[in-house]
Every structure is written in C-alpha cells, then in structure tokens.
C-alpha cells in the first residue's frame, strides 16, 4: 500500500506543518440533526467496519441496490433452482463503495432502528441518551497518516437535572509528525485492493489461491480397496494385503497394533514385507467379553484367506495353523495337537477365569519374487486369563520369508562390524569349530529384573546383550536361603549366566563359525570351583572391549576381548547385608571402546609450519 502511495504523496517537513496548523485551525462542527442518517446503510456498515480508525470501511450503495441484494432470490421472476451462470456472486455485480465520512461511521451501532446503549454515535438514540453513563466509543477518526484528518468526537455532558446530554462534533485533527501526508491524489493507495469478484468460473481458482489449509482436506484415498494401476500385479514393500471373505468380499489383513495408547487397535493393517512385533493391551470385562470378543478367539486369526497378489483373479491363500501352544496359569507351555479346521474357543470357566484366550499370534508369510504370497503359517499361544491379570497383554508378530530360503536364515549382527543395538554373536567350541544357534535369542543374555526380585525363585526372564548398550540389573538373595552354600552358589551362577552360557563371542557381526580364529573366548577370572571355602557370587560383570577398525569414513566395530568378572563374598554374608537379611546380586555389562580417537587437523603440514590453527583460512579453504 505504501509503495503505491509513494508517487502521489507530498511529504512536508514539520516547519510547513506548523504553517498548516495555523491555516486549518478552524474546526468544522457539524450539527447532529442536519445530517440525515441513512438507516439502510447501517446494515452493511456494521459488517464491514472492523477497525474504525481507518476509513477503509464500506457502506452500501443507494437503497434500491440494497433491496436488490436482499430480496433477489425471493422475487417471483427468479427461476426456482439457481442456474449456474458466470455472473459475480453478489447479484448487484459490484461491491459497496467505501465510506470515508467519519461523521457517518458508527462501529458500535449493532441494532438496526434501535438505540444501542452507550453508543453515542448511534443515530437512533434520541431520548435514550439521558440514560447513558458513558460513550463506548469517544472518537471516530480518519487516517492517522494524513497531516489533517476529520475526527468525530462524542462526549456526554450532564444537564441541570443530572441527566446525560450528548455533545458530538466533527473536527479537523492535526498530525504533527514529520512524515505525515499533506495531500494525496491516489485514493486507492489508502484502501485495500479491490477484491476479485467470485463467479462460477473463477471460484475454484480463488479457493485454491486463498484457502490453502482447510478442515476436511484429508481424504481417504480409495487406494486400499481398489486395485492400483501398476506395472506389477504383486504386492510391493509396504502394501496392504487384501483378504477375501466367504462370499468374495474384499477386506484387509489386520494385525492389531498399539496406537496413541497401548490399547490394541484391531483395524491396523499389516504391511507387506514389513516385519512387525507388536504388543498391546486389551481392557476386558471377563464374564462379558470372554466368549464374545472376537479378538480373544483363535478363529479370528486363523480363519483368514489372503489374496496371493493384487490381481483381481488372484489365488486365495488360507492361513494354516502351524502350531498351537497352550500356556497354563503358571506359565508352563505345552503344545496342543489340533485337527485341520479344529478350533479352540475361549470359554469362561468361572466368573474370574477365561480359558483358551489368544495371548500371542505369530504369522510367517512366504512370498516369491513376483510379490505373491505363497503361504501363511500362524502359530498361536493360548492361555488362561484371570481377572487379576487384566488388562490382558497380547502379542502379534509377522515375519516374511522368501520362497527359496529352505534353511532358516542366519541373522548377522552387522557386516562385518557390529552394529549398535544388535545382539552379540556367540557360540560354543567344538572340535570342528564354533557352533552357534540360528535363533537370535540364544546368545549372550543378561538377567532381567523381575517383579518378585528373588534370585532363586520364580521364572527368570533374560534379554540378549545388545552391542554398545550398557546394562545393569539385579535380584535379591535372602540370607536364610543361602544356608546350603555350595548349592546356592551353583544355582545363583546359573541364574546370572543363564542357560547355554557360551564360551566364545564373534569378533565381527558376521564372523563365520568355521573359522575359530575370528572368535574371542570369554575370559574368566573366577576361581569359584577351586575355592576352598564356599563363596556366593554377588555380581557378574561382563566387560567387553571393542575397537573401530578400517577407514575413518566407514569404521567397523570389532570386539577385542570379553572378560567375565565374578565377584564373590570374601567376608561373612550377614555383614554384607547390613542387618537387612537381603543381599543384592547384580549383573552388568559394559562396552569399552579402546580405539584411539581420530584427531581433526592436517595430515601433514608441508609448508605452514608456523603452528597456524587449522581453521585460520576458514572461508577460503
């Protein structure tokens, strides 16, 4: 706006301004009654006045055009359904022209033909003025940038009776600023650019131009239900897999997952080739939900028929049940042999116990290079749910294996160097070399803290030791349990080390088992077996030293040595507990980088031997 005015504005200095002040000091006082108030115009005035210190507000045209706007659609000449035409949307075809007369502006006049209380500029107020206590708007002024502008002032006085009396005046106000506008001949420069009138033809383009973000702009694309026009008819990575119902209706292959909370969301699809391992919780009312809730029943996860590909006539692949394991209340698991098509339904045994509830579902999807699903195997864990163990935790896994992969794939923990966050590769020495388990869970593990904290009792959960992640956990040993020292010592060592304690750890994440030189033995400092007096292990600490190997750009982590530090008690156990009769037994793992750090700087200083800092010529080199 200012740039537009620049050509037509006369800027005068303050000296000249003083002169203006002398010349124009005659205040023009208008008589309130002499200006006839046009009530028709007030309708639009109140809509358009937003900021009354500006004169950029609008009023209506003469009354005849106003009626055309308001009564246009109700007139008999108008055809019933509005026909699409290229006419501008206001039927008058033009917008109201702006009002600049401050005497006619009244932003607080909100009721037509009625007096607004304490609105001193409201022309409808006559006798009611006597009830006013103050003016909600005292001044309506024009553009403050002008050196002199009109301003309407409204004040309340009081009569001899104590009633209010309105004094209004329109005066010239003088702006003493140095850069005030003395005169301007470009009226549009002080108002908004006239808007483009929306018509049926340009409405969409105007909407695109001004309404960038609107509610409801998120639409569900029909991608999930309709087959996409793609070169390949097979599934691609991340695609949603389609299921076929009994009557041929299409659906999606759901895999329950936690959403914004840990609650299971059943309507989350599984994505092709994206391995997932979800665990989510379900809040149940046992006696109501046990038999009826579909998510607890095995058939929900086994009676699924997947379409092999995205083609319309694709073969249907039914989910096969690979194994069903029943878990008892204390956690022991037994495999159940079921006939094909046989199902175990969730049953309410008593009001607090529900049997055959799905606790864990694992899908293994076999696919071929064309993106077609060959078969789907489901393995389930069913168990009991007691009312005390609610909300129920359910686990869902999905894995994808290639069709040609006959043997189970061996997972590397990095190639060649270890990757942070992947489990250590460990094995046992035999005459032929090292043997390692293909199960990634059977590796070097550490004891996880359990809820009852007792080292000797209860099922112990173990987690694999991940490369680069230091851990600490522990359990407690009650003194009265430690009476049979040699037995407790052996049991405790077994608890701390876990079953299948390996002897060797691979140098690299992909070390081949047939090369024993690539494996590091776990060195041991303990002389537990040979000790004369029986001692109880108090802590098991694994210290793993690793170094970076190879180029600076792509360093590979290599395990150099691994040491097991077993601390046993040297004094009486009762002294160690400090009288509490509880002994803390801890298990910890530390990864220590032993590589020399790379140093920034010049490799060699050929000529500049003046000990300049390396960033001396910063922006140039």
């Amino acid at each position: 706006m200012l740039t537009k005015m620049a050509t037509s504005i006369t800027v005068v200095c303050s000296l000249l301004n003083l002169l203006c002040l002398l010349l124009l000091s005659v205040a023009a006082t208008t008589d309130e009654n002499s200006t006839k108030y046009d009530s028709n115009s007030s309708v639009l005035v109140e809509q358009n006045v937003t900021y009354f210190a500006y004169t950029d507000s609008f009023t209506t045209l003469p009354p005849d055009s106003t009626t055309a706007v308001t009564h246009g659609y109700s007139s008999t000449e108008d055809p019933g359904p509005p026909s699409l035409s290229a006419d501008p949307l206001p039927l008058s075809g033009r917008l109201p022209s702006p009002v600049t007369d401050v005497g006619r502006l009244c932003p607080c006049d909100e009721q037509r033909d009625l007096c607004d209380v304490n609105c001193c500029c409201d022309r409808d107020c006559g006798e009611e003025v006597a009830l006013f206590t103050g003016c909600s708007i005292h001044t309506v002024s024009g553009n403050k940038q002008l050196c002199s502008q009109d301003a309407a002032h409204y004040t309340l006085g009081s009569t001899v009776d104590g009633l209010s009396e309105l004094h209004s005046s329109v005066q010239k106000e003088i702006n003493n600023g140095i850069f005030c506008i003395q005169s301007h001949n470009y009226v549009e420069g002080l108002s908004f650019a006239p808007p483009v009138l929306p018509t049926d033809s340009n409405f969409d383009s105007l909407l695109n131009q001004f309404a960038n973000f609107i509610f409801g702009s998120e639409k569900i694309s029909g991608k999930l239900s309709s087959v996409e026009h793609q070169a390949s008819s097979g599934y691609q990575y991340g695609d949603v897999m389609t299921t076929a119902g009994e009557n041929g209706e299409r659906g999606m292959f759901w895999l329950p997952a936690p959403g914004v909370t840990t609650d299971c969301l059943d309507l989350s699809p599984a994505a092709f080739l994206q391995e997932q391992s979800n665990s989510c919780s379900r809040r149940l009312v046992l006696d109501q939900d046990c038999g009826t809730l579909l998510a607890l029943n095995m058939i929900t996860y086994t009676n699924i028929r997947l379409l092999a590909s995205k083609k319309k006539d694709a073969a249907v692949v039914a989910v096969e049940v690979a194994s069903v394991i029943q878990q008892s209340l204390d956690g022991t698991q037994t495999e159940v042999q079921l006939d094909v098509g046989e199902n175990l339904r969730a049953v309410l045994l008593n009001p607090d116990l529900c049997a055959n509830v799905v606790l864990e579902v694992g899908f293994v999807v076999k696919y071929n290079p064309a993106g077609e699903i060959m078969n789907v195997m489901a393995s389930l864990v069913l168990g009991f749910v007691h009312a005390d163990t609610l909300p129920l935790e359910q686990k869902f896994h999905i894995k994808y294996v290639q069709e040609i992969a006959e043997e189970v794939a061996v997972h590397h923990s990095g190639n060649p160097g270890y990757v942070v966050g992947l489990p250590l590769v460990s094995g046992k020495r035999t005459a032929d070399g090292i043997i390692r388990s293909t199960d990634p869970r059977e590796t070097l593990t550490f004891l996880r803290s359990a809820k009852d904290q007792d080292c000797l009792h209860g099922p112990h959960q173990r987690s694999p030791i991940l490369f680069g992640v230091d851990v600490l956990s522990g359990c407690t040993l009650r003194l009265e349990d430690a009476a049979n020292c040699s037995l407790v010592s052996q049991v405790l060592l077994g608890v701390l080390r876990g079953q299948n304690y390996p002897q060797y750890v691979a140098n690299f994440g992909s070390s081949p088992p047939n090369n024993p030189m690539d494996w590091v033995p776990i060195s041991n400092n303990s002389k537990l077996e040979e000790a004369q007096t029986c001692s109880i292990p108090l802590s098991l600490h694994l210290e793993i030293e690793w170094t970076k190997y190879g180029s600076l750009l792509n360093p590979q982590a290599q395990i150099v040595s691994i040491k097991e530090v077993l601390q046993t008690n040297t004094s009486d156990l009762a002294l160690l507990t400090g009288g509490s009769s509880l002994l803390t037994v801890s298990s910890s793992v530390t990864f220590t980088p032993v590589s020399a750090a790379a140093l920034p700087g010049f490799r060699a200083l050929p000529t500049l031997d003046a000990k300049l800092p390396f960033e001396f010529f910063f922006p140039f080199v």
Partner: protein, 309 residues
Amino acid sequence: MAFYEVYSHPAVIRYKTSVCTKATVFLVAVLCLTYISPLLVAYRSQGFWIKRSTYEEQPVVRFQYQTLLVAATSTKGDYVAWSTFPHFNNMQGANLRIPTVSVREEDENHDGKLDRLIFRLQLPLKPEEQVYSVQLLLTFSYQLFRMSTVLMQSLAYVQYSSSVPGAQLFISGDLRLQQRTPLPHRGLYTVYNVSVVDGSSPFASAYDLVNIIGAYQDRNLTTVLSCPGPVWVVGRAAGSPFQLDAEIRYPMEIISYRPGFWETVKFAWIQYVSVLLVFLWVFRRIQTFVFQNQVLPTIPVPLGKPHFS
C-alpha cells in the same frame, strides 16, 4: 613586526640503498611485521571469522487444520481420541469421540502475516466420563524468507494431566522456533517441508505419538509451544463438554544463520584494518627514526633538487 606561519607542507626525504644491505633486511622485516602481525592480533583476540550471526523475522505461519487429540477419561486408562486424519478415526472404533472445533487466525497489525491462532475444542463426554489428561497435536506450516527461504511443516504439542478431573484447559503461549545448527545464509531450505503426521497411512504406527514426536525432535528446525502457565479449570458440570482453549501467538523470532563469504570477509577486513592502522603508525615512526638517524647506513637524497642522472 611579528611573524606568523603562513603555510606549511611536508617534505619528502628519500633514502637509497642497494639490495644486499642491512637496510633492505630491515625494510622486509618491518613490512612483514606491519602487515602480518595485525592479522595474528586480530585472529588471536577471537572472533576474527564470524561463524554465526542472527537476524530477526516474523515467520509466516499458517495453521494446517490438522489436529490429533487424545483425552484420558478415567483413571483406569479409558480414553477418547479424535483427529482430522480419517484413517486414525476409523481405527479408534468405540474410542472415537468427535468434538466441536473452532479455529480463527488473526492478523492483528494488518501487515499480512498472521499473528495468532485462537483454537477452541469442545469435547462431549458421557455421564460416567471425566477428563484427566489431554494430549493435543496441531500442525503448522512455517515459512521464513529474509535470509534463506525456509519452508517447513512443524507442530505444537500440548500435554497436560491432572489427578483432578477438569472442565477446561486454557493454554496461551508462543510458537517458538528451535534450531540446533544455524541456517544457511541463502538458498532454499525445504528439508522439513514434509508432513509431520502421515495422514495417508493406514497403519497405526503412523499415528503413534512416540514415533511422531521422536521423528520430529530429531530435526534441526522445530517449533515448540512455549506455554509457561496452562490453566486447568476443575469442576465440570454434568452434561457440559470439556473445553480446550488455546491461544497460540506467532512471535518475532531471532534466527541464527551462518554468514556468507562476503559477510565473513567484510567483518574480518574491518578488524584487520583497524589493527593495521596502529601498526602502520608505530612502524612508520620506527622507520623514520632508523633512517633519519642513520642507524642503518643509507644514502639520503637531499631535499630540494634531486639530481637524477
């Protein structure tokens, strides 16, 4: 009759010497000291090369009309959720609760840039439900133009929980920019002009707040809603909705950037020359002393009539 100085001018005395003399060695040494040592002084006193500078700009912020709301309705973990993403809403099932949302963005000073967002959300509740905690996520389009052109999508995340059920949560705060590394001084910076929440994804993991916030905080440029005093109003009447009022201002930001080559050189030049002037003055005095007093033997060319052969 008194005399006065009517005029004065400096006279040039030339000292001559051959190349292999002490005077030449002295001259070279003085030149080196005069011009190199200011560089060392300016560099050693820190801040020679400016590597980070700041400027002020009010960003162009638009609310993207994307919202995600999770409200805990009992102390046992029941919740209701709603978002503007259809896939998310479909997944919620019985937990979906559609609120009434009203939004207004204001340009208070009429400079063409929006200054604040007024967001009001009324969440209807069943008689047995009470609101104990609220998680609200709003997304914004955020643009900067002065130095480098930054176009990004950002979010404001509000989380409030109370042990007492509430009737209203009032939030009034600023949407502040947070940057880890300075911006470039020019060019287009649109690395983060991607959706913060992938509304087209049908997977539940796309709407997991842990994933969303985790990926978002990984960015160099983020916005954060700085709201020091959220107001939790307790005492909701039965049947009335839970009300969430948010007033989010888009204030002027101080943005740090990495100055360009010429700006770096300009400031280095200013520092170098100001130190150089001192050295020039000092070494000119030393040189004048040395040659005037013939400390090093040179041949002065006498003033007046230089005879060149």
